[in-house]
């Protein structure tokens, strides 16, 4: 039995203090301790991107980071980004283009797409594909996802 460690972190704007086992991954922590099940667990070795979570403002693999490492940091999950409405247009575009389908990859796709659009307001389709290369989707064949992101980028540039 290993010692549990006290962590204090901010998750989706709320202060959270918990005792965690060192081996608990950040994605398991938000799912099981905080019941934020929007971040999904896929491969657990950093390949699929389903567990994408924002830590200190940057997208990371929730399965490749320990909960104890979020001590003192800021964590944002798909629930937080949904609630603030900051990616509502992107979510609408995914819905309209049926870019979700089974939904397993969708939260990770949305967070990754949001990160892309924050650094590149007019990505080409090839740049979108390259940026999403670390997120697996087994339903859509990616076309619908690339379409949705492209439409969102165009609409944001038009200011609509």
């Amino acid at each position: 039995m290993t010692n549990h460690i006290q962590i204090n972190t901010t998750v989706n704007g709320e202060n959270v203090s918990r005792l965690v086992e060192p081996r608990t991954s950040l994605v398991d922590f938000v799912r099981y301790e905080l019941s934020l099940t929007g971040s999904h667990v896929g491969c657990e070795h950093g390949i699929c991107g389903a567990c994408t979570i924002k830590v200190n403002g940057e997208i990371t693999r929730g399965c490749l980071m320990l909960a104890v490492q979020a001590d003192g940091g800021t964590v944002e999950t798909i629930e937080g980004l949904s609630e603030t409405g900051e990616i509502a247009d992107l979510q609408d575009a995914f819905l309209n283009r049926n870019a979700g389908q089974c939904g397993a990859c969708t939260p990770g796709m949305l967070l990754t797409a949001d990160a892309l659009l924050k650094t590149n307001s007019s990505p080409t389709r090839s740049e979108i594909r390259e940026f999403l290369s670390g997120n697996y989707c087994r339903c859509t064949g990616y076309e619908a996802i690339v379409d949705a992101i492209e439409v969102t980028a165009t609409n944001r540039r038009k200011g609509s």
Partner: protein
């Protein structure tokens, strides 16, 4: 899967981290970016009793130019290196390689030193450091030492680092006047492990190449400097005939292995193709 239980320590100084390494008698793992360590823990390919999290060691983070070289701290994230103006100016080969290292979410967390210390045979940075003739700085409880990159990589995931040592920084000679770099790799999907890759650095005058360093990766256990092939074209003009001599000579320099992606024979074909592409890029 979930990792086996382990203890966790987050030292606040390099000395404290080195002390923990010594007292753990080889049963500890250093946790930096964790982008390669965590998968091995999750799959239970390794089960250290202690993780020493060095993320609070700010002294290991950062990029600076000093004493004729570019110093990249071991804890510097790939994304910081990728966006660094100093790196682009003084070691453009490294800037060229960065987008090939996994994916944005992984580059946000993964560290420069971690990639070097792990010594994955398919990794980009070890080959870049060999091509650039960089030095690797290592700390232990007795002080610090430096070793040339080409001597640091020993075998598959094996380096000159002892159990009680920590990689602290990399020093790359500043890009000299008249020198150019080129980088290419073949992978099935962007960001995937390379099937074969090549990092090159050389002096270029018109179409004439000299002081050429060709560092292949994902070829065998460590990065391989193709010295015979480089010598075969040194001081000569890059043209179809010279390229075919380089390609033929690669058969002496390289002893490719089979891996999950392709056979040794295929790797040799890829290596020859990459050498042709790289030489053409170098003179354009």
């Amino acid at each position: 899967m979930k990792p086996s239980p382990f203890e966790y320590a987050r030292p606040s100084s390099l000395d404290e981290a080195l002390g923990l390494l010594v007292s753990s008698n080889g049963n500890a793992s250093i946790l930096a970016g964790g982008q390669s360590l965590m998968p091995t823990l999750n799959m239970r390919l390794s089960s250290p009793s202690l993780l020493i999290d060095i993320n609070n060691l700010a002294e290991l983070d950062g990029i600076k130019v000093a004493g004729g070289s570019l110093r990249i701290g071991a804890l510097t994230r790939h994304s910081s290196v990728e966006g660094s103006k100093e790196v682009a100016q003084h070691a453009p080969l490294i800037t060229m390689a960065m987008p090939h290292i996994a994916h944005p979410a992984i580059r946000n967390r993964g560290t420069f030193g971690g990639s070097i210390a792990l010594a994955d045979p398919a990794a980009e940075l070890p080959a870049c450091l060999c091509a650039l003739n960089a030095d690797i700085e290592i700390a232990n409880t007795n002080g610090r030492r430096k070793i040339a990159a080409s001597d640091f990589f020993k075998d598959l995931y094996e380096t000159d680092l002892a159990d009680d040592e920590l990689l602290t920084a990399v020093e790359v000679p500043l890009n000299a006047e008249g020198y150019k770099s080129a980088f290419q790799e073949l992978a099935r999907r962007h960001g995937d492990y390379a099937m074969t890759g090549l990092a090159a650095h050389a002096k270029i005058e018109g179409n004439i190449v000299s002081d050429l360093r060709l560092a292949f990766f994902a070829i065998s256990g460590t990065p391989v400097l193709a010295t015979k092939a480089a010598a075969a074209i040194s001081g000569k003009e890059v043209n179809d005939e010279a390229i075919s001599i380089v390609q033929k000579t690669l058969e002496e320099d390289l002893e490719p292995f089979d891996d999950l992606h392709c056979s040794a024979k295929t790797k040799l074909i890829y290596a020859k193709e990459l050498s042709s592409r790289i030489l053409k890029v170098l003179i354009t």
